[in-house]
């Protein structure tokens, strides 16, 4: 068995990207993800890659646009306020059908907010951020090991579907260390050659053009509709979640990322007290995996969404549950982390209200 190493989430993210063949990193430092850039600054020159600290997040994402257009595997990472700045570029990249990976190690907002962990960028990541009809695939790891596997997969998904993929973590996951092995990811996708890349024609082929400007509405509509057919395929085949102790559950918690782990501790304590509680942990935030919610919506008494926000994913949970069961919410925000005790108290109140 491959030896495990102890690494911070941020460093593991960076190493996984390099192992996935990423050779270009453009970024601008921001807590709590600066270790990503620090790791890249150290390692990229050793392997002939490019690390560049841009003058701003806006510049960094446009460098990503350029490198992606040339067919390279490219990464940028930031935290909430920085991702807001990148949003215009992300929309252009989506509108040009280019693959890249963007990491958001989320901190409290809005505005400059704070530097402690948060999940309050769920809407930004899954419903837009930038302008126009577009989506990114959004992956939400809950451990350092899953961070590694999903970062590697993110590059494959980006290339396979020709679109930006976001890794969404939080300050806790970025900063914490856990044992991790790097050899476990195996690609399941056959990737086509990037014949669309702007690499120079050498007078041997027609020009490739990368563009997101279409003045004729008929033409633009057709392109967007085509892109949404691709999104339908992704919704069909890539939506993913983990189920934990759902089979006999009276209440199912919906939580993603690190908060899913905090919820697991609450669930174990609830079960010790005889409360039947389970967990659905969305791994892809977009596409959102509706199936487990549909499966259990007529079996459970209610759902409880737990987030480090004022309630964002809860909207997707409600859409999936479709009125068949009540969906309650517990959240902390601004960098505060819900504790297992708080979640347990909420669960007990929900069960108490029944009796």
């Amino acid at each position: 068995m491959e030896e495990k190493v102890l690494m911070k989430g941020n460093e593991a993210l960076a190493r996984a990207a390099i192992e996935a063949g990423c050779r270009f990193f453009f970024g601008y430092p921001i807590t709590p993800q600066t270790e990503v850039a620090a790791y890249m600054a150290k390692q990229m020159p050793k392997i002939g890659g490019t690390f560049l600290q841009a003058e701003s997040e806006v510049a960094a994402i446009n460098m990503v646009y350029g490198a992606a257009g040339a067919g390279a595997r490219v990464l940028t990472s930031s935290s909430s306020p920085g991702v807001s700045l990148k949003s215009e570029g992300i929309s252009y990249i989506a509108g040009s059908d280019l693959p890249c990976v963007i990491c958001n190690i989320v901190r409290g907002g809005p505005g400059l907010g704070g530097i402690q962990p948060a999940q309050s960028d769920y809407f930004q990541a899954t419903k837009g951020g930038g302008h126009g009809d577009y989506h990114m695939i959004v992956l939400a790891p809950c451990s350092v090991q899953e961070m590694v596997n999903l970062v590697k997969e993110a590059f494959d998904l980006a290339d396979y579907y020709r679109m930006p993929v976001m890794i969404m973590g939080d300050g806790m996951l970025g900063q914490m260390m856990e044992p991790v092995s790097f050899g476990s990811y195996k690609s399941s996708k056959e990737l086509a050659e990037k014949t669309w890349a702007t690499t120079g024609t050498k007078l041997e082929r027609k020009r490739n053009i990368i563009n997101s400007l279409y003045i004729t509405p008929e033409e633009l509509e057709k392109l967007v509709v085509e892109r949404y057919k691709k999104y339908d395929t992704i919704i069909e085949s890539e939506a993913r979640s983990e189920e934990y102790m759902c089979e006999d559950a009276d209440i199912i918690i919906a939580a993603y990322g690190t908060i899913a782990r905090v919820s697991k501790t609450a669930i174990k304590r609830a079960r010790d007290k005889g409360l039947k509680v389970g967990l659905i942990r969305p791994i892809t935030l977009w596409p959102f995996d509706k199936k487990p919610f549909e499966k259990y919506s007529e079996k459970v008494k209610s759902f409880l969404t737990v987030e480090m926000s004022m309630g964002q994913m809860i909207e997707d949970v409600k859409l999936a549950v479709s009125g068949k069961a009540p969906v309650e919410f517990y959240g902390r925000t601004g960098g505060m982390i819900p504790t297992p005790e708080e979640i347990l108290e909420k669960l007990e109140n929900m069960m108490g209200g029944e009796r």
């Binding site: 856990e178 044992p179 782990r261």
Partner: protein, 177 residues
């Protein structure tokens, strides 16, 4: 091994994160499940600083500790902040050179060690953390010294191998107390 949920806390610069890292590597070299979660931000640069380490046979759920089984406190605010959170039957070790009050709870075990004073006497004023760690290891028995030695080789910077002996001597000193 049962699950040990350890909060280490003190001022930035006292080597709280390093001490936590040593415990985490003890878990690594003995093939345990573990997590190491630091506080981050301005507190690392002179304010209060803490670190949550979980060592277990089971996969770690919440990396955030709310009911520590062990508290390792190196300043007064840390003891005040975390004493009430320690699980009943838990263990508290603190640096009595820097903490005037003691453990007031009766349902936990409290051990006082003048670690900073001992460190000064050894002329290793920056290593009170390792002296306190030695004492923690002795009193709780959560890990043995051979594991600690293996772990120490991993946390001492490769460029400064001489620090291995210095740290180990302080841990051994702590184990005498």
């Amino acid at each position: 091994m049962a699950t040990h949920e350890i909060i280490l806390a003190g001022f930035g610069g006292q080597g709280i994160l390093f001490a936590g890292k040593l415990l985490a590597y003890c878990g690594m070299v003995s093939d345990k499940e573990l997590s190491w979660l630091p506080s981050y931000g301005p507190e690392m640069r002179g304010g209060t600083c803490n670190c949550h380490v979980i060592l277990s046979d089971e996969p770690v759920s919440s990396p955030l500790i709310t009911k520590p089984t062990i508290l390792f406190a190196m300043n007064q605010p840390s003891l005040e902040k975390f004493e009430g959170k320690v699980a009943p039957g838990g263990f508290i070790i603190y640096d009595s050179s820097l903490i005037a009050s003691g453990v007031t709870r009766t349902d936990v075990t409290g051990v006082a060690l003048p670690a900073t004073q001992l460190a000064h006497e050894m002329n290793e004023s920056k290593l009170a953390n390792m002296i306190l760690m030695g004492s923690l290891i002795k009193h709780t028995g959560i890990i043995d010294i051979e594991t600690v030695k293996k772990a120490l080789t991993k946390v001492v910077p490769a460029k400064k191998p001489e620090l291995y002996d210095v740290n180990l001597n302080c841990i051994l000193k702590g184990m005498e107390n």
